[in-house]
Amino acid sequence: MRDVAIIGTGMMKWGELWEKSLRDLAVEAALLCFEDAGTDRIDAMTVGSMSSGLFNGQEHLASLVPDYLGRPLTPSIRVESACASGGLAVRTAFVEVASGMADYVLAVGVEKMNDVSGDVATYALATAADQDNEAFHGVTFPGLYAMIARAHMEKYGTTRDQLAEVAVKNHRNGSLNPKAQFPMAITRDTVLNSQLIADPLRLFDCSPVTDGAAAVLLTTVEEAKKLNKQPLVVITGVGHATDTIALSQRKDLTKLEAVQAAAQRALQMAGKTIKDMNFAEVHDCFTIAEICAMEAMGVVEPGQGGPATIDGMTALDGAFPINPSGGLKSKGHPVGATGVAQICECVSQLRGTSDKRQIKNARAAITQNMGGSGGSSVSHVLEIR
């Protein structure tokens, strides 16, 4: 397998982007990426989107995106794994380059969620769950994660305050990110007094509905050196795993096995451990998700995610910053784009270009992008070479 580098990233400010259509978003992210890369050469591309079909009535993004990017005949793969679609699109692009199938591969993640009403968006998101055995009974995504939260609180004594602190921290980081949908700091009271969505989760425990796209350009390390890319950011590990789609089929509700396996596989491929990583971008679709993910990835022992967050371990100036970008909560969560944006943030941090939210001595990072209630998870390890 060839070594793979990331030579360009691109994303616009996320939010309710009424003037921009689905195809506009994908193309804009790609163009920003080419500008950053200093080249627009692509041999192939991947497009991550959870459900352009339900949000926009539009499938066949594999054809639409290269068409509107002005690249006829380009091989293109639409990748879907619910909310892990973006991360999986990056992994798919990685495999294209590493295998020698293509030299320059663009991975675009995109989701345009605001063209439908909130009800329909909730329905579309719920298709990531088991339709016959979960959605049929009236469950929503906040509901699934609320069940995980309650089980976690029962088993480990995780508190409402600890969950709230995840949102507070991520908003503090997001307030320093010009691309974030909600770049404002919030207080713990804001979270604790917000509307109940599915007990015990409240509005501010939940990531928002967002329009947005992000893109990364991958090529071989050899090509990247020819382009004199400095510093060189390399994907040294990729890990991917699946778990039961339905929560009721899990052995332990508090344990995200797919997250654990994917992270372990990525670290193993990189020849590293979690302790060698300087920071992580993880999938905080709900506050409890960040707590479970950091435990599954081995950042802390099971059950210690809440206390570690309250203690400031995962803050920007903490021992192990998590979600310097603001996470899904503050940055936004255009579902298929999230996994790609996590890579963009890591590249920015590793290059030293994260400005007010820059982590000191950032040399190695791990991402974690998850689908549904943990039914799938993809991790990438990125390092400076």
Binding site: T122, G138, L196
Partner: protein, 132 residues
Amino acid sequence: MQVPKHWRQIPQRYRMEATKCKKCQFISFPARLVCPECGSKEFDTINLSGNGKIDTYTIIRTAPEGFTDQAPYALGIVELDEGVKVMGQITDCEPDNLKIGDRVVSKFRRMNEEGKTGMIMYSYKFVPDVGI
């Protein structure tokens, strides 16, 4: 009207029909073609008791399309006495009074309907076991 889809689910929803692996005895609900424990493809069909205890639950306050007039309602994962876990609504109760570990039994209930002229969907729901 999605008649075939719901008709196909009747054994599961009306009778809690599950599959028990002939090789390792693992019970799968819903029914499966491949045993997730041992990979065997031979099963016996059994009907679950519907009796169990609450493993976890939530109260849905912002409901999905089709359930908005039922909100708020409790939804949980129940661990049946057979050891199988099932997701279902928990009804005939004050949701705020539920606790993990509470015993429940299953009842045959109406879930939803496709408008005034469409299908009516039925399924099991769980109610607190008051020991009658």
